[in-house]
Amino acid sequence: MPETMLELKNLKKYFYLKRGALRREAGVVKAIDGISFSVEKGRNFALVGESGSGKTTVGRNIVRLYRPTEGEIWFNGEEISKAKGRKLKEIRRKMQMVFQDPASSLNPRRNVRSIVSTPLDIHGIGTRGDRLKRVKELLNDVELSEDYMYRRPTVLSGGEKQRVAMARALASNPILIILDEPTSSLDVSVQAKILTLLEELQKKLDLTYLLITHELSVVRNFTQDTAVMYLGKILERSTTNEIFNNPLHPYTKTLLSSLPVVFDEELALLPKTTPLPDASTRQLFSAAGCRFYTRCPECLGEKCAAEEPPLTEVAKGHFVACHKCL
């Protein structure tokens, strides 16, 4: 029976630019502009997008590193977007994040034991002896030997660093783990090991993952549901199978066709679209039309420029925001 672990309702996060001595508002970056999706327990969810899509901001909003401008975040049955103080701390025990680039997410001045013990220290779990035991347990879970305990991150390899980051995330026994580009900085062979480890941990500890990434081939192998983001909006959302076998939105098709694949058999699975010009880095715009209008190879012209297509269900469980697909 599917149990909704995490649900986002129309989440928005705007960053206001303030200029001048009087800090007047000069403009706004709408990093996330109305995101809704839900993550079911046991079903891994992928949030896919390129740089500037806002996917990282979504992750940070969920763990409340930012406070949402609007919208609701439901976690484990509770609305958490406005939680503060002790309540927020409790929530944070159950929801952890593994950050992109393990090199910078580990404090170079602390050793592995101290890093992994951070959640235990912050939440005051157990005595000093208990914590030492727990750290050893956690290192064991992520397949690092005890010798690693007193080493500093600078002497660890990328894969080892990521394991330490995972051990830290597991320390407070969370039920949801948000993985922000967990393997983007890793080599292929190390990536496979980390993903295998994540799968094993999922089975062993009954975890659910929210995967934020741009690597579609990882998404294909690791998740059950996927949402594609572009400039702060979700353009398509469905099960992973559907997205890959039957992509509808032109952006999704473009993403898939840009994948550099290794095997010829994979080439047959890719949709065919015409290439696009580079994305400009401008995220401040006031256009009311489709976000993808400036780059869409299948654009319908005026309608797409004037009216933003709403996210509609065009097949069972398959949502698209595109005029052409209706």
Partner: protein
């Protein structure tokens, strides 16, 4: 077409570090034919970037070439002095760097950088002082502004004038990458070294850049050494792929064949680890990359190889031909001594 333009034989590069002498590159040999595109593929730290840099003579100061030969058009590059290198770099051999945003001078406009580059290319021995004194004259004489603008249009940067007057922080990553490609091509080189172009970009931008590179390579008949850690990219762009591991070449073959039937245990391991759209199970390679200070005796992969034999731990296998253009460095296959 089958004339060899570059020959690397038994290259050895060492690094002096705190812990001692690191023997990073240990006997790398390969050939590049005219108008051929080869890809040096490998994971972090395998030495692919270093190999490429040695061909351009831009190794870091702690690195030393301790052995081997690099022949470019029958000229031994390792015997060149600084003057000789300056005649070669940019005009014959050029490089497209990895991260375009940090490869461009943030204090000069794109146009200024291109113009300086193109002006100085023809006069490698001019002193900087006299150059700057006569810069506007030289630019007018050689019509460099127009040439530079044309270079930018050639890499599909429009409107070229606007880009010429922009600073690097005003253009996107993809545009900067194109500028770097334009810079590399401006001297009309015969050999191009592309160091992970596009890795710092989004996947859609990367595809556009790779398509552009492909177009230019074919247009100008360039010979290319393409460095990447992305096997898919190597497959799409290269004729021939060389897989490197820990400073040695493990296997080399045609791009469309090597991943169908890899022979070297490392290549087989890589193939099993790649995440594909075919939902094959991803399996990693156990162990970790060896240290270069104290590398394993014999084959450097022996600590992680499921088929390691006695001899693998004693003598390093040579890269030998085992079938039409297919080279492997492994004792499992005939052609090895001992």
């Amino acid at each position: 077409m089958s004339e060899t333009i570059l020959q690397v034989k038994d290259l050895q590069i060492t690094f002096q570090v705190f812990e001692g002498l690191a023997k990073v590159i240990d006997g790398v040999s390969f050939e590049l034919k005219k108008e051929e595109v080869i890809a040096l593929v490998g994971e972090t730290g395998c030495g692919k970037s270093l190999t490429a840099k040695s061909i351009l003579g831009v190794l870091p100061p702690e690195a030393k070439i301790s052995g081997g030969v690099i022949n470019y058009r029958n000229q031994n590059l390792l015997k060149l002095d600084e003057k000789g290198w300056r005649r070669l770099r940019g005009k014959e051999i050029a490089m497209v760097p990895q991260n375009p945003m940090i490869s461009l001078d943030p204090l000069l406009t794109v146009g200024d950088q291109l113009i300086d580059l193109m002006n100085l290319q023809d006069q490698p021995d001019i002193s900087l002082f006299s150059y700057y004194a006569r810069r506007s004259e030289i630019t007018k004489e050689r019509d460099t502004w127009a040439k530079a603008t044309r270079m930018l249009e050639d890499v599909a940067l429009k409107p070229a004038d606007r880009v010429m007057n922009s600073y690097p922080f005003q253009i996107s990553g993809g545009m900067a990458q194109r500028v770097c490609i334009a810079m590399a091509l401006s001297g009309n080189p015969s050999l191009l070294i592309a160091d992970e172009p596009g890795t710092s970009l989004d996947v859609t931008s990367q595809k556009v850049i790779l398509d552009l590179l492909n177009e230019k390579i074919r247009e100008r008949g360039l010979s290319v050494i393409f460095i990447t850690h992305n096997l898919g990219v190597a497959r799409q762009i290269a004729n021939r792929i060389l897989i490197m591991y820990a400073g040695c070449i493990a296997e080399a073959w045609e791009a469309d064949k090597i991943f169908r039937e890899p022979l070297h245990p490392y290549s087989i391991g890589l193939k099993k680890a790649i995440p594909t759209l075919l939902l094959t199970k991803m399996i990693g390679i156990p162990g970790r990359v060896p240290s270069y200070i104290d590398p394993p005796v014999g084959c450097r992969f022996n600590t992680r190889c499921p088929y390691a034999m006695e001899i693998c731990r004693k003598v390093k296998p040579e890269l030998v031909m085992v079938g039409d253009g297919h080279e492997v460095a492994c004792y499992l296959y005939k052609g090895q001594r001992g």
